[in-house]
Amino acid sequence: MEVNELRVNVWRGGADGRFQQFAVPRRASQTVLDVVTYIQRRLDPTLAYRFACRVGMCGSCAMTVNGAPRWTCRTHVDRVARDGALEIAPLANMPVVRDLVADMREFFDKWAKARGQFTPTRTRADEFAVVKPASRQRMEADAGIECIGCGVCYAACDVVKWNRDYLGPAALNRAWTLANDARDGGQKARLHAVAGDAGCHSCHTTMSCTELCPKKLSPTRSISGLKRATLAIVLRGEDGE
């Protein structure tokens, strides 16, 4: 094998699949997605993987790279290759569809379970809601709002592995951004939805989500906010309603 080649082990098949090795030419500023695309375009067109924007906006290209979940379009080979080798697998904690494609249905279903939908309180006939950018609530929402739904945090979370019902960092982060939306009318139902055994109080603060989030968000921060908000409801005696 040439020195300027990468040894790339790529997961093939479903859950009971295996790794297949490819040799890929090393390039300057090469991303992991470039490597996967090279394999699919030049070496094996049957390789299944998912991507769309290639610029870190769509959240569709996340995979497990050398043991850690990463967004592959913005992950440079320089940063993650070890001794000229890469191991690329589908995201953990999700069923494998085929090769590098993970089934994200459960991941997004949990957003819905966490009441991640905006519940409007005004009509188009009403005035705009005035939300001050410097208000505490707006700043809390801002801290988590840039999530692209890539599933990296969900794949990195051990609590998801241990408790399959756990809503996961991304869904809880979404719930917290909405909990801080002054225009939203679904707060009580949302906090009730995230307070159960599969909700925010199951988080063990291992913070792998925060460590690996490609957008540098902190789902742990959001989850701790939900913990305080749900506790406040209990202390105020409003949990029985």
Partner: protein, 111 residues
């Protein structure tokens, strides 16, 4: 350690869990020793003399360090969950580790 887990917050989580389990296992032993006092002064003194062996003192040092780690780690978790968020969570974990090591060192110097 898997690459996804190899970061300070995960280590802090592990130390907190392992120290908690170790302390829970130690408690019955602690009560057993206290219970020896019921059998008379001689029985307790005999055990306490045995506990002055270097290996037992070393085990005591480990215990003190684990206790300090669990205390500081617990305070870190309470701060994380009940106080407004701080972005320097790794610094808090490092402070908790420093407190545990200092407590262990102080015990070692005192013995």
């Amino acid at each position: 350690m898997k690459p996804a887990r190899n970061h300070p917050a995960y280590w802090a989580f592990l130390v907190h869990r392992v120290s908690g389990i170790a302390l829970a296992l130690f408690l019955p032993l602690h009560f057993f020793v206290l219970g020896r006092a019921i059998d008379g002064e001689a029985a307790l003194d005999g055990f306490l003399r045995w506990s002055h062996r270097p290996a037992v003192i070393a085990a005591e040092w480990v215990l003190i360090t684990l206790l300090a780690a669990h205390l500081a780690g617990g305070l870190r978790l309470l701060a994380l969950e009940f106080l407004p968020w701080r972005d320097w969570q790794k610094t808090l974990a490092a402070l908790a580790a420093a407190f545990a090591l200092l407590a262990g060192l102080a015990f070692a110097l005192a013995r």
